[in-house]
Symmetry: C2
Subunit: 203 residues, 2 copies
DNA sequence: CCTATTTTTGACCATTCGGTTAAACTTTAT
DNA sequence: ATAAAGTTTAACCGAATGGTCAAAAATAGG
């Protein structure tokens, strides 16, 4: 039954997403995934031949979820400031629902950079780059942003939204010491980060 | 011979640092560490009883190297702006020599937050916190920084310096696409990040 | 030089882990 | 109803892995 098959494959995939995200490629166990999906371990290998196949599938989906979803924001027809505000709001909200995703992706790429190579080429950062340079020519000039500082600003924007989640484990411990609530901090960050960047780039 | 013993234990430890930093706790193999140290695997267990013992020792040392070394900067007798400039210069230079350290630490803490708990309590972030609040009372007022936004600013500073290294794997691939050189980008970042922060917090 | 102690090794062990196989069970089509 | 095809399982396999052990080699002390 194709309905049932879809269900089983989907159950496996969802279980794999959770386990890989939590334990990483090397830490994850096929048995754990099978248990979580409520099936026999052999069935894992029936649907996804090897651990690497399964991981590849999961990783590709999660990475696309992370990258593909948010690069289009910068291609919209908005002012630079509006894009920045929009990005932080959407991106941080997304990570509130997927808090372990950033750490997982960063870690796996660091451990195996060539795996992502094709995937990232697909995302066409070059186009995004050119779009920004073209679409905001006058704004960039107004903000005194050169082609040399643009990478700095782009990575800065990424930093501000991703880092709190990539460092969630530490921050929660430190914050506890200071009486700061992580969730409130994150909620506040959506606006703070946008204002911070805009303030910094405004002459 | 205590001289020789020191040498062997040190060789093991250094090998372990490299392997753990590169492969993570779950990815690292005792055999790999033994090979790298040029000794028998049994000798590993003679000096450090279990993999967890060895990892604990390595992790504690590396984490202290990362945290302990730079929190004192904020206790020095400098203006806030000077501290910010000083921090970025020192911290980024340190990570240029230990580029894999940030990713390693973030990842291991996320995978096992309670391991770091005691370690982080030792660093006394609370003191650092109070020192800043006290020492820069007038400057904070001048910059319009409240007790609510201070966590945002502190984590922002950490973000800007740590993230490029935690995300090194991705950035190198993206940069290659754009004709940007990672090392030059990092060198530039020392000043850029400091200026960026100062610009953002200045009224 | 001889003995006691410490360091180092090779061989080995138990368990875990990714993966396979053959058979049972289900579904589909005729 | 029945055969063919697809799905699921229990049992099993070989390699890898963390860890142990007893004996050998090196070192230190008298």
């Amino acid at each position: 039954m194709s309905e049932n098959e879809k269900l089983t494959e989907e159950r496996i995939f969802e279980a794999a997403e959770i386990v890989f995200e939590e334990e990483g490629l090397t830490g994850a166990r096929m048995q754990t995934i099978a248990d979580r999906a409520g099936i026999n371990k052999a069935l894992l290998h029936y649907y996804f031949r090897t651990k690497d196949h399964l991981f590849e599938a999961v990783f590709t989906k999660l990475a696309q979820k992370m990258f593909m979803k948010f690069t289009p924001i910068f291609e919209k027809d908005l002012s630079l400031e509006e894009k920045i505000k929009f990005f932080f709001r959407e991106h941080i909200t997304f990570m509130q629902h997927n808090p372990k995703l950033p750490g997982f992706i960063l870690n796996e790429i660091n451990h195996n950079p060539q795996r992502i190579q094709k995937l990232i080429k697909n995302i066409e950062f070059r186009n995004l780059w050119l779009t920004i340079l073209d679409q905001h020519k006058d704004e960039l000039y107004k903000y005194n942003i050169t082609e040399e500082t643009l990478p700095q600003i782009m990575t800065t924007i990424a930093s501000l939204s991703v880092f709190p989640f990539a460092a969630k484990g530490i921050l929660e411990v430190i914050f506890e010491n200071l009486g700061v609530d992580f969730d409130k901090y994150i909620e506040l960050r959506k606006e703070f980060a946008a204002d911070f960047v805009i303030k910094a780039i405004t002459k």
